[in-house]
Structures are given as structure tokens and as C-alpha cells.
Amino acid sequence: MDWSDSPEQANFRKEVRAFIQKELPERYRSGEDSGEELSGGWQADRKSEDPTKRDVAMAWADSLAKRGWIAPAWPKEYGGAGLTTIEQFIYNQEMAEAAAPMPGGMGVSMLGPTLIVHGTDEQKAEHLPKILSGEVAWAQGYSEPGAGSDLASLQTRAVRDGDEYVINGQKIWTSGGHLADWLFALVRTDAEAPKHRGISFVMMDIKSQGLSLRPLINMGWKHHFNETFFEDVRIPVKNRIGEENRGWYVGMTLLDFERSGIAGAISYKRGQGQIKKFLNTDEGKSFKRVDANMVRLELADRAIETEVLFNFAFRIVSIQNRGMVPNYEASVNKMFGSEVHQRLARSETKLWGLYGNVWDPKSKYAPMGAQHVQDYVGSVPHTIFSGSSEIQRNVIATRGLGLPRG
């Protein structure tokens, strides 16, 4: 058991750190927001009206691309860096420490790996380079109003018509769809087959005729999600990845990505450090509730939980580095991490008493730019998306512990 870097790992860490120090544009150096928020920031910059912002976004993407670091986990032959899982981990750790935006998005994390494993040469040639250059951003169309945790019950229909599929139905929770250029989706191609066996994996231009997006404003009044509607959307059959009706299994494809989720723990720890700093300023003292003593032990607990979360992340990458595939451990990370996130936001908001309900980040009455109350609201979806806490516990119990399915 060893929590320190090997000499090779330490060298690689130094290399990544030096790169970030040299190349990260000033605009992304606040080091204050979570990586996730800034990623959104990068995605928005890429599509900004302001050419300066667009240039900054593309300059950062270009610097990364030169090293294959847009898609560090992809094999070199496809334009990635072919990093080992432990190198990916160090890369992700350092990027998160610097709160540097990761331009890849869904194209790098989901579509690319699926194409690499199941795509035709033509599909790979068409799509992979545009993901790497930042030219095309991808959105995911999986969930439907009637298919959430039970995703395989999805009903969006794709009916074959010659060389085309005609798609009708609706997707929901399309993250960043309004900033994306293309969409990959699971659609039903056989309504009679058992539910997992009648699904196909398809790609489409998000500006396809008949495809429309509607913003789904969240409870924090932010536009992150969309509803996506398909009315006789026609796409070429060659936009299907893998065999017809095998889409469920195509969608389950995982490349050898590191899956520690280390960025969460890093951003929670950074946030705790920032609070400590702020509380030592005059402004911080003016906001701190007089009975803050009631909250300090709660905050100590959150720090301890963050440490536990770090270890869960280290465990995942240790398993992967030994050439094994994490089983229930990945579900533990997702469940525990999202629940810590919510508790943390709650405890941190508590620190400010009544000021904890000021939402406007620019208000003079908003401690630390209202980030904690915003996080209190913003963390609500985290125990729900990507497999709710309840689904994760089911997975841990059945797949991990071998308990009989209900």
C-alpha cells in the first residue's frame, strides 16, 4: 500500500504540471470554479459571439491536441495519447487541481471509444478527427420521459426506410445539447424483441430536419439540460454504429479509461481550503455566523468524508493499474461522491446563516459569490443522473455482493 508516486509517475506529473503552467490561458486560471463548471465555460466559449473568447478556447484545445491530450486515453493510432490508466489518473488529477477545462466532452468520453471499438473505418475517419480538433461537440440522447433508471424501456422509434431510418419520439436530459453539433442516441429498431435486444445506436447532425431542442431550465434557473424531439427525422443507415438491434451492448462499451472520478474529491477539497482562507479575511469574518461553532465539527466531518472519497478514487485506479476491471467499486464512488457533494454543500451553506440564502453572485451580501447556495441547489441532480443512488446501491448489492435480484 503506497499513496506516493513512483519515480516514473512523479516525472509524468511534473510534465503535466509544467504544461498546464505554461499553456493554460489566463482566462481559465481563476482556479476557483469546479472543473465541471469551467468545462461548461469552455463549451460556451467555443460557441461564443465574442471572437476573443472563441480564440482562447481554441488556443487551449490546440495546445492539448498537440500532445494528444484532448483524448489522453485513446490509442495513439486514433489521435489520442495512449496513456496508461495511472497516467490518465495523474493527468486528470493535475487538470482538476488547476481547475483547467477539459474540452473533450461526450465526444471524447463516450462516442469516441464506442466508434473505436464498433465503428467502421469510414465512421472513424469522418468523426474522430473532428472530436479531436474541437470542431464537433457531441451530445447524448439516452434518457426519455418514460425511460430513466429503466433505460432499456426506451421508446423512441427508428423505422427503416431504404437506406434511411425515420426517427420519431423524444429524449430528455440532453446535457449541453444547445452547445452541441451532433447527437448520438439509442433508438428502438425492433418493438417486438425483448427490450434490450431491439435497440440500435445511431448518430445524427443535431441540425437534422425534424429534430428540435427545448431548453429544460433547472431549479437553479440554469440552462444545462434540454428536451430533444424527433419528428420524422431521417438519417442514413450508415450512421448506425454496430449491428442493428445490438445498440444496447454497443452503448455499454467501455475503453480502458481510468474511472476514479478523482476530480470531484479535488474540487471539494479545494473548496474547503478556499473557505478557510475566506474566513481569515475581514469580509469573511463579517459573514461568519456568530454561532459558527455549531458548524465546525460538521465541516470537519465533510473533510474526513472527502478523504474517504479520495481513497475510493485511488482504489479504482489501483485496481485498473493492476490490469483488473472495477466492479461494484465504481458504483461506490458514484454513490458516495454524489452524497458527500450534497452534504458538503449543505454544511457550507449553513456556515453563512441567513446570508446562505442570497442567490445573486454579485450581491454584496453574497458570501464567496453565493457559490455554496448555488452548489446546494446544483448538487441535487448528482444523486440522480448517471444511475441514481438507489440504482447504485442495487448494483453494489447484486453485482458486487451477489444478493439475489428482487
Binding site: M1, D2, Q272, N311, V317, S318, I319, A397
Partner: protein, 371 residues
Amino acid sequence: MDLGLTETQELLKNAAREFLENECPEQHVRDMEEDEKGYSPVLWQQMAEQGWQGLLIPEAHGGAGFDFLDLSVLLEEFGRALVPGPFMSTVLGGAVPLMEIGSDAQQAEFLPKIASGDLIFTLALTEPSARFDESGVQAKATVSGNEVTFDGTKLFVSDANVADYMIVAGRSAKGVTLGIVATQQAGVTINQLQTIARDKQCEVVLKGAKGQLLGTDGGGWAALQPVLQKYTVAECAYMVGLSQMDFEIAVDYAKERVQFGRPIGSFQAIQHKCADMVTDVDGSRFIMYKAAWAISSGQPAADTQIAVNMAKAWCSEATRRVVAHGQQIHGGIGFTKDYKIQLFFRRQKRAELAFGDSDFHREAVAQQLGL
């Protein structure tokens, strides 16, 4: 960076598990609850032959020269098997302080006999105030050359009833001072307490009890810090093993127990408890090993201290949640004396309280974080 065991640690763990499954079965644990001594001298000698009492002790003094991280691996197995007896008292409370601050002569006198299983030690630290801080040490220590005389009452002293020697903490004019005190002398009176874990914690009344000075006059509290760190993490390791086994028993039971025509483990209400149990057990294991690693690899003092406090704060509560779920999953059978799960439940509480519970260590964490 790797959170797996080394090959040596795997061997140690497997050997310990096999040995303890054979030599320390449930019936032995039960027998020792009602035994006056609380341990089996035969098993004690067998453990010495395995090299366990001397695991940390340098080879020059008859030990195996392993490090503290290795010992933590062994102690996890001790927790799993609920091994009764004075092992931790002797190793953490005796061998460790002797190794930290014992003179060459003291090390040569005592360490080989600890390694060989010929001596039992314990640490007499706490008093009726039940405090773990420096001001908790109020027993009087009177130093005269290399001799120290103690007067006062030490309380919650594990295994004093069978110990040959105690490392006693008292207070001289210069501050906290330690001594190596033989239990067999007129000035020492030992009374056993009945405790939740039916282990052997004692009241030790010292009236002119004499011993060798250990370390310097007044230097005792500083000298105790690395001892307390290790003992605290050792209790965490014990809780990790204990809660792992409790969890495994509960999951097995959930697979077998049928109600409403199906195993109760097929109900989500039970499944989700089991998922929380494995999360707490795993979380405990890694935060404990992180602290053990920090100690073993000599990480910076501040990092090591907070790692120890975080480990005990977390393990004390997380393993309590685990054993509580273990009871609930078992339903009625679980709270009978005859069924094994309660053995874990009761022992978890002892370890939770030992060397500071969650509240104590959480406060220490808060202070170090500047909260």
C-alpha cells in the same frame, strides 16, 4: 501509488487468516469472555511461534523487523477473528514504547521476551477522568535516578490482570513521566471491570509502586505521541476486520433467510443496507491504511497526525453503522447470546471508545484544519 497489498502482506494476511480460523474459532472467543484470564496461554505461545508478538521488533532483539503497515494487516485479521487477549496491550502498549524510547539495556531486557511470548505488557495511561489529553495524567510520579515511584489510580487498563509489566504514565514536577512497572509487587492492586466486550479492562491502584524510568523525567507526553498514533490506528485496523466479518455474516444471512417466499436479501430495503455496509467497511479500510502508511513511511508530522485523527473519527462511526445494520438484518436471532453477530456488535463499541471516539478525533481534525 497502489492501494493493494504487497506480496509479503498477502502472505502474512493469508497465513493469519488460516491460523486464526483454526486456532481462534467462535467457541474460543466465547470461552474467553468467561475466563478469568481472558486469554489462552497455549494460543499465546502459538502466536509467538508465528512471530506475531515480535512482528515489529527488530531482528537483533528476536523479532521479525516488519513495519507498522504490516502489523496493521495482521491486526485486521485479529479483528476479523475477534482474537481475545493481551496482544495489542503487549505489542502497542509495551513493545512500541520500548522501541520508541527504551534504553539499549531496557530494549535488550524486554523486547526478546515479548517476541518469544514470555512477557505480557500493557499501557496504564487513562485515569478516572477518562481523558486522553495530557492533563488526564495526574497520578504522582516520583523520580529518583533511574527509578520511578507511582501513586494514584489508573483506569481502563487493558489486560493488567495478566500483564507482567505495565508502562505507567504519571506526573512528576517536570511533567508526564513514564515507568516500566512490574505488576507483581505490593504497591499494585488490580481489579477487573466488567465491560461491554467482556474484555479485561482493569482499575489499577498504585501505592508506592516502583519501576524503571522509561525515557526522561518529564519527557513522557512527547514520547507517548507516536505510541498513541500507532495504538489508535491499531484499534482502527481491528475495527476494520471486525466490521468486514460482521458484514460478511450479514450478507450470507440475507441470502439464506427466507420470508414471504424469498431470501430477504432480494428486498431492496436489505440490499441498500448491505451496500451501505460495504461502503463503510471499505472506506474504513483505506482511511486506516492511509494513516498506517503515513506512520510507516514517515510522512510529515502534520500529515500523519491528521491522517490518524481522520482514521479514528471515521472508523469509529462507520463501523458502528456497520454492526448496527448487521443486527437489524438478522432480526430477532441477532440479539440472542447464542448467535455470533452480537459478539461483533459488543466489541465494536470497545474499540470505538478506545483512544478517543469520533467526537474526540473530529475535534482534533477541526483544530488542525483551522476551523
